[in-house]
């Protein structure tokens, strides 16, 4: 079987980053996670062909990479929303009302847990690990930033601000 070469489909900077990570570790295989992060940063998710690219770059088989990418919960194999909302529902947050927060956001955004809004702006996730901000419970993490001590109104406010800060031409 002739495998299509997909390396062109990636930004050269991403590819360079993958190669840099490959040479950083004592064993190239260690660069699988950083390489997947680099691709997800560019494409927002990991299409099957990108796993083959990683495999080729690191001298692995595509199956090896899929075994890894599917194990970790933060890699997507489908296109998520432009922003990812993670609502922590573990013990500390649960004790301080994260269920109500999630229910409110589900209603407000019109999506179920795990769904993406119709405008593609947000993917809502309520099944995440403890996000390590129990001191500010309840909290949510939007992309890489934490928003703590939330109540439904404050969460709405935060998300409205994020939505409005997007370039207008997306509307």
């Amino acid at each position: 079987m002739v495998e299509a070469d997909h390396t062109d489909a990636l930004n050269p900077a991403t590819l360079a980053r993958i190669r840099q990570m490959r040479d950083l570790y004592p064993s190239p295989r260690s660069a699988v996670l950083p390489a997947l992060w680099a691709i997800q940063d560019e494409l927002a998710y990991l299409p099957a062909w990108s796993l083959e690219v990683v495999a080729t770059e690191l001298g692995l088989l595509a199956g090896d990479v899929e075994a890894v990418s599917s194990f970790y919960s933060m890699y997507f194999n489908h296109q998520p929303g432009r922003h990812q909302i993670q609502v922590c529902r573990n013990v500390s947050c649960g004790l301080r009302g994260s269920d109500e927060l999630l229910r409110h956001l589900e209603n407000w955004l019109g999506v179920e847990d795990g769904g993406t809004t119709t405008d593609g702006a947000f993917t809502l996730e309520g099944t995440v690990e403890c996000l390590g901000a129990c001191g500010g419970a309840p909290m949510m993490q939007v992309d890489r930033f934490s928003y703590e001590n939330l109540n439904p109104e404050r969460a709405e406010e935060v998300l409205t601000k994020i939505r409005n800060s997007e370039p207008r031409d997306l509307d």
């Binding site: 079987m1 796993l51 088989l61 199956g63 899929e66 075994a67 599917s70 194990f71």
Partner: protein, 637 residues
């Protein structure tokens, strides 16, 4: 040899109160087995490294607070193991409950039903009934065609990882991997691309449940329908040990029968799935003879008498040398030996061969190295890709030597410079050289070169068909006699013989065996048409059966009993796995009766065992080897 020092090194442990002595480093599971106590296990497999994921084998070890996995714990002196305590019993029950929680109720349609470890252990150790109110199971894909050979059912999978580890440790191909995690974990191929391996057939065999099944065997039979016979795979000359499972005198499947010296429990797909060849319906089922120009069915006695009469007539008219005798590398040793005797001693012709192309310059030295001895080599040179194409299972042995034992494997093209190769070898130590028989001269040349460079080298030659080696050892060749004895007068090689027949010098042909080596050759056709007498003993309809003046129904290798010799010289038994549709005598008996018709007596009954004694007397290397030992050829013989 067990001298005092090695005995002192053994570790004494007790399993359920039974004392047992094992070498240090032995796994507790093996020690239990040695003590005669069975510990249930799913993930552990003799040929794979322990992972201890199924937890089924947890046992009590005195002094340790937690139950320990017998499959991964090594023995320590004075260890006290208990496998039958209440704690262990309760956990086995609970663990099976866990396994069954998400296991579908597929047993009636599952091919594994009746020979499934999950069924068996549930019967033996498991909960008698379900107690849970949780009836919703996690669902996965079913009946996934992983390739044209393998079917995957992810719901039935208990995630023992055997398939994944097999691909990682045994073949190195890593085609099946674990995906997802937690209760959603599955085994699958990348993007469900079809498996490419030529060793897929081993997957269903190591799968403890019905997650991976053979598509060929799909819904063919239940284990209680099958009759199992231990035999040898007839695909190539490697001699993998198999079980032939037959239903109603049709082969239903091959299963591996571990022989660590030969196959190490793995079969190739060509061999495992190749048996439909033997189930073909195009069989010769009646003795026939040309009576007055017209072929018709005759009685067996009549056919033998006609054959003997015709051969006698030709010998009388033109002399013994006007008769040609052709065998087949798919004959048993007994048949090959009797056939060459029949040719040389009874018909008195030197023209006897078992193959089309000439074979010259052979000696036992070319077969000195054993298959398992490859593991003792410091480096192995493989000449060309022919050895692995002929005997695919060799690839797995080489992978083991390279990967598990960390030895050097050097694959060189068929044309190579021996001096260059020797330079790449380790400075000292044992060198194995693997070559197809066609490359034997190059292999022997390399051996000499390596020998003179201070390495100890030995050659393993890979022959072509299941009993090519036996036919050579027993002298079913025109240029050497039994045991590679040199002859006063060499006969004609197969092809020359046929040419002589076309030229009219050979007046009669005796063709015994499946004839597969000749059937494709136009020369064979011409020769058969030309000769006055063609006595054919064959199982299959074809060129030979159609042209025969006297035709006798032969048996396939699955219908025979006897021995065959694999490429390393191991003499192994083939047993009658299925009965033919007719009741005529076996090929060996036919040869004996033919000899009697020609006025000679074999001296013993035409049965495998007595004939083996006869051939062992003629070829001393074979003495005492019929139960799976390598024939012992004296150096330089």
């Amino acid at each position: 040899m067990a001298d005092a020092s090695t005995v002192a090194e053994l570790v004494n442990i007790s399993v359920d109160g039974r004392p047992v002595e094992v070498p240090p480093g032995t796994l507790v599971w093996d020690a239990c087995e040695k003590a005669g106590i069975f510990v249930p296990v799913y993930c552990a497999h003799k040929k794979l490294e322990p992972v201890a994921v199924c937890r089924m084998c947890l046992v009590e070890v005195e002094g340790l607070p937690k139950l320990q996995p017998a499959c991964a714990t090594r023995v320590a002196p004075g260890m006290v193991v208990r496998t039958q305590t209440e704690q262990v019993r309760k956990f086995r029950d609970g663990n099976l409950e866990f396994l069954l929680l998400n296991h579908p109720l597929d047993c009636p349609v599952c091919d594994r039903g009746g020979e499934c470890d999950l069924q068996d252990f549930t019967q033996r150790y498991g909960p008698g009934r379900a107690r849970s109110s949780i009836t919703e199971k996690v669902h996965f894909d079913k009946a996934v065609k992983l390739s044209d050979k393998i079917m995957l059912d992810q719901e039935r999978c208990i995630l023992c990882w055997r398939c994944v580890r097999y691909y990682e440790e045994i073949t190195g191909e890593r085609e099946i991997v674990l995906q997802e995690r937690g209760v959603h974990t599955v085994v699958d191929s990348f993007e469900r691309q079809p498996l490419q391996s030529q060793f897929q057939g081993n997957l269903p065999e190591i799968c403890p449940v019905g997650a991976l099944t053979h598509r060929q065997y799909r819904f063919r039979a239940r284990p209680w329908d099958l009759r199992r016979t231990a035999s040898v795979c007839s695909h190539c000359s490697y001699g993998c040990n198999i079980f032939v499972d037959a239903r109603e005198e049709q082969i239903a499947r091959y299963a591996s029968n571990d022989n660590p010296e030969v196959d190490d429990s793995w079969l190739c797909d060509q061999g495992r799935y190749g048996f439909p060849e033997l189930n073909r319906p195009e069989r010769v089922i009646n003795p026939e003879a040309r009576v007055g120009g017209l072929r018709q069915a005759v009685s067996y006695q009549d056919a033998v008498a006609r054959a003997a009469g015709a051969l006698l007539r030709v010998r009388g008219d033109h002399g013994g040398t006007s008769v040609g005798v052709l065998g087949s590398p798919r004959m048993t040793n007994e048949e090959a030996f009797v056939l060459q005797w029949l040719a040389r001693e009874v018909i008195a012709t030197p023209h006897v061969d078992h193959r089309y192309e000439p074979l010259e310059g052979i000696s036992p030295e070319q077969f000195r190295l054993g298959i398992a001895e490859l593991e003792g080599c410091d480096a192995v040179v493989v000449i060309g890709d022919r050895p692995e194409r002929l005997s695919p299972v060799l690839t797995l042995r080489l992978y083991k030597v390279a990967n598990k034992l960390g030895r050097q494997i050097l694959r060189v093209p068929e044309t190579f410079s021996a001096a260059q190769v020797v330079k790449q070898l380790p400075a000292a130590g044992r060198i194995g050289i693997v070559a197809a028989q066609a490359d034997r001269a190059a292999a022997m040349g390399l051996r000499a070169k390596a020998g003179s460079a201070g390495r100890e080298a030995a050659v393993l030659t890979i022959t072509e068909a299941v009993n090519s080696r036996g036919c050579q050892d027993l002298g079913l060749l025109p240029n050497v006699g039994p045991g590679y004895r040199s002859l006063e007068h060499s006969g004609l090689f197969g092809r020359q013989l046929l040419e002589a027949a076309v030229a009219g010098q050979i007046k009669a042909l005796l063709v015994v065996g499946d004839g597969a080596d000749f059937e494709a050759e136009g020369l064979f056709h011409e020769a058969l048409a030309k000769v006055d007498v063609a006595v054919v003993v064959t199982a299959w309809q074809g060129v030979a059966s159609r042209a025969a003046t006297v035709l006798l129904p032969g048996r396939t290798i699955a219908e025979k009993a006897g021995t065959v010799t694999n490429t390393e010289g191991r003499v192994q038994r083939v047993r009658t796995a299925v009965e033919p549709k007719f009741t005529f005598p076996s090929d060996l008996r036919i040869l004996g009766d033919l000899a009697a018709g020609l006025g000679s007596d074999l001296g013993v009954q035409a049965l495998a065992a007595p004939v083996f004694e006869l051939l062992a007397a003629a070829v001393p290397a074979y003495r005492g080897c019929q139960a799976g030992l390598r024939a012992h050829w004296e150096p330089g013989s």
